[in-house]
């Protein structure tokens, strides 16, 4: 039992941290005594019992903003991970199953997207779409769909040659049923690991875009926006403005990465 706990320590630790974040996102905002965007006269206050994480240049409580941002950032990261996973897997399964011309054309398209680092792709697309939560989700999702397409397609190429695939086809299942019900589930293991990683990257990308002034913008309580606000005071030493939102961001990304690593170990062992 203890050995098992130790072996899956990363998975457990990651899950525990993520649970903590989900709890904060769920009930946290109701427990706060300040409003996230409410301006007050107490600007640039150091962390104190009154303001645990200090205040920013508009006298807004950093702790309140960090807690509200948890909800927003987690929502974005998980939406990106799930949507890119679903869309990418289905596309990958279809082109992997049929192969041929459709496959070569689509994979060239995927190559084009891969010729560009995901963050930069998301950056340009966000610039094109404009600043909003929906647009940043769309942009980051588009940047990560190719990962799942490539992964599932590769899996599909092997799975479709297995005997049970022939069996499923020969008893008269329609193609869509063979692809989605019979074959796709058998290709998902690596994609699940990837999904956890993508959630981690997505949360960093979203905050990174916000830090550059793209996607989620001030005065919304979002970790990247808050770090960007703090960066303006980097030479005057108001460290609490950027340290706490950044710590929350990194811890969240860390949790997703731990879960991804842990899942990889878990699934490889079986």
């Amino acid at each position: 039992m203890l050995r098992m706990l130790l072996r899956h320590f990363t998975l457990l630790l990651g899950s525990a941290i993520l649970m903590g974040f989900i709890a904060v996102a769920w009930v946290g905002p109701d427990q706060m005594k300040y409003e996230p965007e409410k301006v007050s006269r107490n600007t640039y206050e150091k962390p104190s019992p009154e303001y645990r994480f200090g205040t920013d240049k508009f006298g807004r409580d950093i702790l309140t903003r960090v807690v509200y941002a948890t909800r927003l950032d987690l929502r974005i990261a998980m939406t990106v991970a799930v949507v890119s996973f679903v869309v990418g897997s289905v596309i990958g399964a279809i082109v992997g199953y049929y192969g041929g011309r459709l496959d070569s054309i689509l994979m060239r398209g995927v190559d084009i997207l891969f010729a560009f680092p995901a963050f930069l792709l998301a950056m340009v697309i966000t610039g094109v779409l404009g600043d909003s939560e929906k647009n940043v989700i769309t942009a980051v999702t588009i940047a990560y769909i190719p990962y799942f397409v490539r992964l599932t397609r590769g899996q599909m190429l092997t799975v479709r040659t297995l005997q049970y695939a022939d069996a499923a086809i020969s008893i008269g299942n329609p193609s869509w049923r063979v692809i989605l019900i019979h074959l796709l589930p058998n290709t998902l293991t690596p994609s699940l690991i990837q999904m956890s990683m993508v959630a981690g990257w997505a949360i960093l990308d979203t905050a990174g875009l916000a830090f550059l002034g793209l996607g989620i913008t001030s005065p919304t309580a979002e970790w990247g926006v808050m770090i960007s606000d703090g960066a303006q005071r980097i030479t005057t030493g108001e460290w609490w403005m950027w340290l706490y939102p950044g710590a929350a961001l990194v811890l969240a990304a860390f949790a997703f990465n731990l879960i991804g690593d842990g899942l990889r170990n878990l699934l490889r062992l079986q």
């Binding site: 010729a115 680092p117 830090f211 990465n257």
Partner: protein, 364 residues
């Protein structure tokens, strides 16, 4: 016209073309090279198309931005005409492609200078930072990756893997702020995060565009010291984040190699352990690491955009960030094409190197 089937040298062009292909096909490496070049070219064409149309739908009218907030309708229309924005998109695209064929990336709408000149000016700043960060990355991740593989399963391995996972989760801009706060604000070891040289120090005469190298070439030690002083902190920040995936890759590659028969044989016949690790294993582990350097390049470039922002580093990352802000379409397109081209070329060279090392690749 009568054909003479017996003299191959006098053939008409289609069969000459065929002969050409047959020659190429008979050399697997050459065939592979041509196929890869063709694919790379195809991808590049795709990128030109995507880059053009993607940026063309940017919200907001560049002519309005350039005309300024006080401009009237007439002035905006004049600018639109001047910038060619009143023409159909297909015509604009044709124009862009023709200019591209002449090595012209168009005019930057903010500075009214050719985009390729501006990119050329700023590229050395990015390259200097990127290369410095890459060297630092190798210096960090090679020993760590080897250590983790050699002591696999022990506390050392565990700690290094934790470091790698943590490094993969660190937000670069946050780490950069921590570094600036500690090294500049608190300890006064680093200069303020404002560009590549202290204000008042002149740029060294331009040879490579790398201030550290140019100042040395000019024999100007003070400038060299100042350039290096500005370079080390952003480079190390970037290296910390990039060495996370790199360490993981090196560890995995080393673990793979250490499992092989030839390592066991080498150990059995009494080759010193140090020599096995540093010579035999490392050389073989290098191949999988090489094939992933495309990913590392991606990390470096994306990281550069953020690091340049935090450290006010006047490279192409800053350039595209400013361009996106004011709908400077040609500048954004130029950046996209530059990055994609380098990326594709890099992957091409890696694949070719790989196929030279491992013949199985090109037979596929």
């Amino acid at each position: 016209m009568t054909t003479t089937p017996d003299t191959g040298a006098m053939d008409n062009s289609p069969s000459l073309w065929l002969t050409f292909w047959e020659i190429i096909r008979s050399y697997p490496l050459l065939h592979y090279l041509f196929r890869r070049l063709g694919l790379a070219l195809l991808t590049l064409v795709g990128i030109v198309v995507v880059a053009f149309f993607l940026t063309s739908v940017l919200p907001g009218n560049p002519a309005v931005v350039r005309a300024g907030p006080l401009a009237n309708e007439e002035r905006i229309q004049k600018y639109e005409k001047e910038m060619g924005l009143d023409r159909p998109l297909a015509v604009q695209f044709g124009d862009y492609v023709i200019h591209l064929g002449q090595g012209n990336l168009g005019e930057s709408w903010t500075s009214r200078r050719p985009v390729q000149d501006e990119l050329k000016e700023r590229l050395p700043a990015t390259a200097e930072l990127g290369i410095a960060a890459f060297v630092a990355t190798l210096a960090i991740s090679l020993p760590l990756g080897i250590l983790a593989a050699v002591y696999s399963g022990t506390a050392i391995d565990w700690a290094i893997r934790l470091f790698a996972t943590f490094g993969a989760s660190v937000a670069l801009f946050w780490l950069a702020l921590i570094c600036i706060h500690l090294f500049y604000y608190k300890w006064h070891i680093a200069p303020p995060p404002l560009d590549r040289l202290t204000i008042g120090i002149d740029e060294p005469p331009n040879v490579t565009g790398f201030f550290t190298i140019d100042s040395l070439l000019a024999g100007d030690i003070d400038t060299f010291r100042d350039a290096l002083n500005h370079l080390w902190l952003p480079a190390l920040t970037l290296a910390f984040v990039v060495s996370a995936p790199m360490t993981k890759m090196i560890r995995a590659a080393m673990l793979d190699v250490l499992d092989k028969d030839f390592i066991r044989t080498a150990r059995a016949v009494g080759v010193p352990f140090r020599q096995i690790i540093l010579v035999d294993a490392l050389r073989n582990a290098f191949i999988p690491v090489l094939t992933t350097s495309g990913i590392v390049f991606g990390y470096l470039v994306a990281g550069n955009v953020i690091v340049e922002r935090v450290f006010s580093w006047a490279g192409i990352g800053q350039y595209v960030w400013q361009a996106l802000d004011v709908n400077n379409l040609n500048a954004v397109r130029g950046f996209i094409l530059l990055i994609a081209t380098v990326y594709i070329l890099l992957n091409l060279v890696i694949d070719l190197l790989y196929s030279l090392i491992d013949p199985r690749i090109r037979l596929n």
